[in-house]
């Protein structure tokens, strides 16, 4: 197996949203999760080739069909291990701020408490309804409904109906379906700041990692919040493992899942741990606990001398866990 590292340089503070999701706080991991890095690098590949970006799909199913995902594992047959701050001195700093959430606290149509750009009056709404009737999108019955409902409503109701009709709503919303009172919830939003992250990708053949040198200096949005570019692409290295005690520079699986006859890694100090989703061909997505970077273990690891005194310790168990089913 072969490995290649890239230097991911943020141009802004970042957020990688932790699971389980909450509507009150948004917490961030202190590293770039393997799945996030995978999508990011694949997107940069498309940009560097001048290819269009895939349009966002709206996933509503519970069963994950991996083929629908645009990432390195499904499209390029290589595996992302995530990206990590390369030394203790460069561990990301975290801070948290108040941000206004998008969700209103009740369901239903919004009375449009957002900024008032355009306030239609009763006549203007009628005109729009007549226009929609001429286009065949509404009928006379809808006009009668509006005339009744407008007696109960007010300027906010008129604006709400106008906006809905401009957005091709098929019926006149009734006044009762509008919220009379709503507040947007403030969130505690966590950000991390770091100068660099070292991203890691593994493959079974060296040739599969060649294209990474073409994405140098390419950039895009990364994570839930933030932006980054590839500042440097390092040479490809072959993987080999040494056995001993080590401090992991990456996340490390806590639970031995697979029956590997030579997998005897034991953790002596667990930082975190963190719940994380990763890709797996059988179930699509799996959630598991991982020790954070800085966890200590005894077992097999790759001591990766990236450049100069920049060295990363990568546990064999992580490589095995994330590449299982994708590459051998």
């Amino acid at each position: 197996m072969f490995i290649r590292a890239v230097k991911v340089k943020p141009t802004s503070p970042l957020t990688f949203r932790k699971i389980p999701f909450s509507h009150k706080t948004i917490e961030s991991y202190k590293f770039i999760p393997p799945t996030t890095l995978s999508g990011f690098l694949y997107r940069l590949k498309l940009l560097s080739e001048g290819n269009p970006l895939p349009s966002p799909a709206y996933f509503k199913k519970n069963n994950v069909n991996l083929v629908e995902y645009y990432c390195l594992e499904t499209k390029e047959n290589i595996v992302s291990l995530g990206a990590y701050a390369c030394s203790k001195l460069q561990e990301p700093a975290k801070f948290s701020s108040v941000r206004m959430g998008y969700q209103v606290l009740k369901s239903g149509h919004s009375l449009g408490i957002d900024i008032k750009l355009y306030d239609p009056d009763y006549q203007q709404v009628l005109q729009l309804i007549h226009k929609k009737i001429d286009e065949g999108k509404l009928d006379k019955g809808d006009l009668e409904i509006f005339e009744e409902e407008a007696k109960k409503g007010d300027a906010a109701y008129l604006k709400g109906v106008y906006q809905k009709l401009l957005n091709d709503e098929k019926d006149i919303p009734k006044y009762s379906t509008f919220n009379k009172e709503e507040r947007r919830a403030p969130l505690d939003w966590e950000y991390i700041i770091a100068e660099n992250f070292i991203g890691l990708v593994v493959a079974s053949e060296e040739e599969k990692l060649y294209w990474l040198e073409d994405i140098e200096n390419y950039s895009f949005k990364l994570g839930k919040e933030g932006y980054a570019f590839i500042a440097e692409v390092y040479p490809i290295r072959e993987l080999y493992f040494t056995e001993g005690e080590f401090e992991s520079s990456t996340i490390i699986p806590l639970v031995a899942q697979y029956d590997f006859d030579d997998d005897k890694t034991e953790l002596s100090e667990i930082k975190g741990p963190e719940n994380l989703y990763y890709l797996q061909p059988e179930t699509g997505i799996k959630k598991e606990l991982f020790g954070e970077p800085g966890s200590k273990a005894r077992g097999e690891y790759f001591s990766y001398s990236v450049k100069g005194d920049l060295t990363l310790n990568i546990p064999k168990t992580l490589i095995r866990r994330l590449s299982h089913g994708f590459i051998s």
């Binding site: 340089k9 943020p10 141009t11 802004s12 503070p13 940009l47 560097s48 001048g50 970006l53 966002p56 709206y58 203790k88 001195l89 460069q90 561990e91 990301p92 700093a93 975290k94 801070f95 701020s97 108040v98 941000r99 206004m100 998008y102 369901s107 149509h109 919004s110 449009g112 957002d114 900024i115 750009l117 355009y118 106008y162 906006q163 809905k164 401009l166 957005n167 091709d168 709503e169 947007r184 950000y191 700041i193 770091a194 100068e195 200096n217 390419y218 950039s219 895009f220 949005k221 919040e225 933030g226 932006y227 570019f229």
Partner: protein, 310 residues
């Protein structure tokens, strides 16, 4: 014409105190601060002009401008309830989650970054008070709480009259004037042709960036300006870099958020800004006055000298 990428790198100065709100402690309005780790491994807090706030101000400016220019679709849009259909949503992104209606998302193609101040400074705390001012019938008189309360009741205000007639001083934190913030914008795959739109996409990016500078800051005072220095020649010009490109062939002038020395930060920005090659058909970089001229012409729909924009 092919779709283009447009990056703006700038160092922006708070030309007077600014308030970027975070949360309100009891009687103190706090500003948002960013935490960084220095190269020695210590944590510090720095003044912060959050890119999310920059984005909100810019998007709002565009919303008003498109409406002013006669865009009909944008009337259905707003913040935070984006419509997902207008030209603004197609560039800045939109999320539509009305149950029963059309659900979908458009990814943004313009991103705001940077915002961590260069110099180390703590927030200024000032005391503020809103002094009551009303037009009373007996002309200009000295402040009299009872008279004001009667006046308020007369004009129909029934509750809260004691609060409106006798204000409480409160404290407010500010970013100090002269704080320097690197602000970066990145935008991708912009359509240089105007087509059916009221503004072309590069025009929308340039316009909202410049407008945002005037309006940034919660409440009042508002406004920041690109800092002017003798960074390219012996004449002050804005510390601004504008890249228009198909392939990113220039070194990005990004300042480390851990840097606290202004001179060192300016040197980092300058040396990186000068490392690029204007390659025909692939990459153009505009520095200083040239960059500002380009953005202003672009924003107002005037012709520009770029090979990538008609």
């Amino acid at each position: 014409m092919p779709r283009i990428n447009l990056d703006i790198y700038s160092i922006v100065e708070a030309t007077q105190e600014l308030h970027f709100g975070n949360q309100k402690d009891l009687n103190v309005n706090r500003i948002e601060l960013a935490k960084i780790t220095t190269r020695e491994g210590e944590e510090r807090e720095k003044l912060y002009m959050s890119p999310t706030k920059v984005r909100g101000v810019a998007r709002r400016a565009l919303l008003y401008k498109l409406n002013e220019l006669g865009d009909e679709n944008v009337k259905s849009c707003g913040m935070p309830a984006t419509c997902g259909k207008c030209d603004l949503c197609k560039l800045f992104g939109g999320l539509s989650t009305t149950s029963g209606g059309e659900e979908g998302a458009i990814a943004s193609r313009v991103f705001q970054a940077g915002g961590v101040a260069i110099q180390e400074a703590t927030p200024d705390i000032k005391q503020r008070l809103s002094s009551p001012t009303y037009l009373l019938e007996d002309g200009v008189t000295s402040y009299d709480q009872k008279k004001i309360e009667e006046h308020l009741k007369k004009i129909g205000i029934k509750s809260g009259t004691s609060r409106l007639s006798k204000p409480m001083p409160y404290e407010k934190e500010y970013v100090q004037a002269s704080a320097l913030f690197p602000i970066y914008w990145h935008s991708h795959l912009l359509d240089p042709e105007k087509g059916e739109r009221k503004m072309s996409e590069p025009q929308m990016v340039a316009f909202s960036f410049l407008e945002m500078l005037k309006r940034i800051g919660a409440g009042h005072p508002k406004g920041a300006e690109i800092v002017h220095e003798k960074w390219l020649k012996d004449e002050k010009e804005p510390m601004l870099v504008v890249d228009i490109y198909i392939e990113p062939l220039g070194k990005r002038p990004v300042i480390s958020p851990a840097e606290t020395d202004i001179k060192a930060a300016f040197e980092e920005f300058t040396s990186k800004a000068l490392k690029s090659n204007n390659v025909e058909g692939k990459f153009e970089r505009y520095l200083g006055n040239e960059g500002e001229q380009l953005l202003r012409n672009l924003a107002s729909g005037e012709p520009v000298s770029s090979q990538f924009i008609a």
